[in-house]
């Protein structure tokens, strides 16, 4: 037997090592459906979102001329929702990453207080994230979201609370299935983006999708924002709809979170969720 034909004693071939790595990730994905879901998520959502925007701009050319302020205000308000949810979820994830959840769970901190601390952190993170952006919009585009006046406070609060509600649902999922669902924290909010009427009115959506849009507090907020900026009208009816819907989503989110916490105690997941 020649030396060239000999199989190395240890380590195997590059192909075997690469194959082992691929297999390792296949094992990882197979054990966690959120990781597989994530692969399909971004392309689909982006395609849907920009598809609706294009449709709207093509059919409403007169709107485009005065759309800059509306679009920038929409972007900023959308960021309130995004940062609100992310701030909540990341604060929770931080406890898991640092293996501190068990310390908290055996402290006098009650689950409802834990929720409250997360919402507070979310508010702080959101203000830090959005306020400079709102300032830059004034400097660069001469667009001030503060022109919305007092309704801005309502819009901000409604979107922030919806962000918390989604954050609670995400954290409940992480408590149930573990860190395999970590990326849902980044992706969850974009699931409702296409039907939230952020950049285009609800009427742009196909009729069968419009009820879903109105079932979210985001649609009345963005429609209300356009009513002020475009028509100079404050739509209190839309605001009340949004507040009522917010209350429902917040109740659902809090219930799911607290229930998942209870299940985690029953199954012993609080010590294992970070592993």
């Amino acid at each position: 037997m020649t030396a060239a034909a000999e199989t190395p004693a240890g380590g195997g071939s590059p192909a075997m090592r690469v194959g082992a790595m691929v297999l390792r990730h296949v094992f990882l994905m197979r054990s966690s459906w959120p990781r597989i879901f994530e692969l399909m998520y971004w392309p689909t959502i982006q395609m849907i979102l920009w598809g609706f925007i294009t449709t709207f701009l093509m059919t409403n050319s007169s709107y485009v001329a005065q759309a800059t302020g509306i679009l920038i205000s929409a972007v900023l308000l959308w960021d309130v929702l995004f940062r609100g949810q992310l701030g909540f979820s990341l604060s929770f994830l931080e406890e898991i990453f640092s293996r501190n959840l068990a310390n908290l769970a055996v402290s006098p901190l009650r689950p409802a207080e834990f929720l409250l601390s997360l919402t507070t952190m979310s508010l702080i993170r959101t203000v830090i994230g959005v306020l400079p952006a709102a300032g830059l919009a004034i400097v660069f585009y001469h667009v001030s979201i503060f022109d919305l006046g007092l309704p801005l406070v309502a819009f901000f609060s409604i979107l922030l609370v919806m962000g918390w509600a989604i954050g609670m649902m995400v954290c409940a999922l992480i408590l149930r299935v573990g860190l395999g669902a970590e990326n849902v924290a980044w992706l969850a909010i974009f699931l409702i983006a296409p039907v939230s009427a952020i950049y285009y009115p609800v009427a742009t959506l196909p009729p069968w999708l419009q009820p879903l849009s109105w079932a979210l507090p985001t649609a009345p907020v963005f429609e209300g924002m356009r009513a002020i900026l475009h028509d100079g009208v404050v739509r209190t009816d839309l605001m009340l709809d949004a507040i009522a819907l917010d209350a429902v989503y917040l109740a659902v989110g809090a219930t799911l979170f607290l229930y998942s916490f209870h299940v985690a105690r029953r199954r012993g997941l609080l010590l294992q969720v970070g592993e």
């Binding site: 640092s98 501190n100 769970a105 029953r266 012993g268 010590l271």
Partner: protein, 256 residues
């Protein structure tokens, strides 16, 4: 009225049909230290988790400071604390930030003063401003104990409290715990693999095997009962013995 601060009565925990802990009963009185021994997988961590309320028992009950831990644990958690090598403190926070955070979380009056005193007592001064994630294993163990003592607990659950400490530091730590208990009169449940430590600190020892308590008693009593010279020899006898047909419960009964 019982002076037991910890009362476990017929506690069992089943995961997917597998019994992790079966029908465990014991109590820890004020001023008493009870050692929980057992090989890896014997059910010690599951038992401690049930005591803390991190796990709900499938059957039986756990009472601490007179409260049912499954239902009213938040009434007493401010008077309880624990340390475990399996749980970290936030790594990006400095030691002083962590201790201050936990002092506030437990509602300790004068958190700064409490942290300062603990830092002096446990000799944390030189790394007080270092991030917890940058500490050596031994330093982490001391900080973890400081966190466990932050609220001056009446019930202290310690999982391997001197793990990663050099013999001198470990000896000093045991002495500190004994002085703490003498002053506070707290109940201590100690899970450890260090038999010398258990012999020195514990009034009573519980040895677990396959989720059950198979031996219990004061260390000298157990040593005498098994006809051995040290607790470690007793532990090895139990750990290496094949279960009898009657099962470990019968072994405990026979031993008593």
């Amino acid at each position: 009225m019982s002076d037991a601060l910890i009362e476990v009565c017929g506690a069992s925990k089943t995961f997917d049909g597998i019994d992790a802990v079966r029908d465990v009963s014991f109590s820890v009185a004020r001023g008493e230290t009870v050692g929980l021994l057992g090989a890896n997988g014997a059910g010690k961590t599951t038992t401690v988790s049930m005591l803390l309320g991190l796990l709900l028992p499938s059957a039986g009950s756990v009472r601490m400071l007179g409260e049912d831990m499954a239902r009213h644990r938040h009434r007493v958690l401010g008077r309880v604390n624990f340390s475990s090598p399996y749980v970290d403190l936030p790594r990006r926070l400095t030691v002083i930030q962590n201790l201050t955070f936990f002092a506030r979380l437990y509602g300790v009056p004068d958190p700064r003063g409490r942290v300062r005193r603990l830092a002096e007592q446990l000799e944390l001064g030189e790394f007080l401003r270092r991030r917890s994630g940058h500490l050596s294993a031994g330093q982490k163990t001391r900080v973890s104990l400081a966190k466990a003592l932050i609220n001056d607990p009446e019930v202290l659950l310690l999982d391997e409290p001197t793990a990663s400490l050099d013999p001198d530091s470990a000896d000093w730590m045991r002495g500190y715990l004994m002085r703490y208990q003498a002053r506070r009169g707290c109940a201590i449940l100690l899970a450890s693999h260090n038999m010398a430590e258990v012999e020195r600190l514990c009034d009573t020892v519980l040895i677990m095997q396959r989720g059950r308590i198979v031996a219990r008693g004061a260390p000298p009593e157990l040593v005498a009962r098994y006809g051995r010279e040290t607790l470690e020899q007793v532990f090895l006898d139990i750990a290496r013995r094949r279960p009898t047909d009657a099962g470990p419960a019968a072994a405990e009964e026979a031993a008593q």
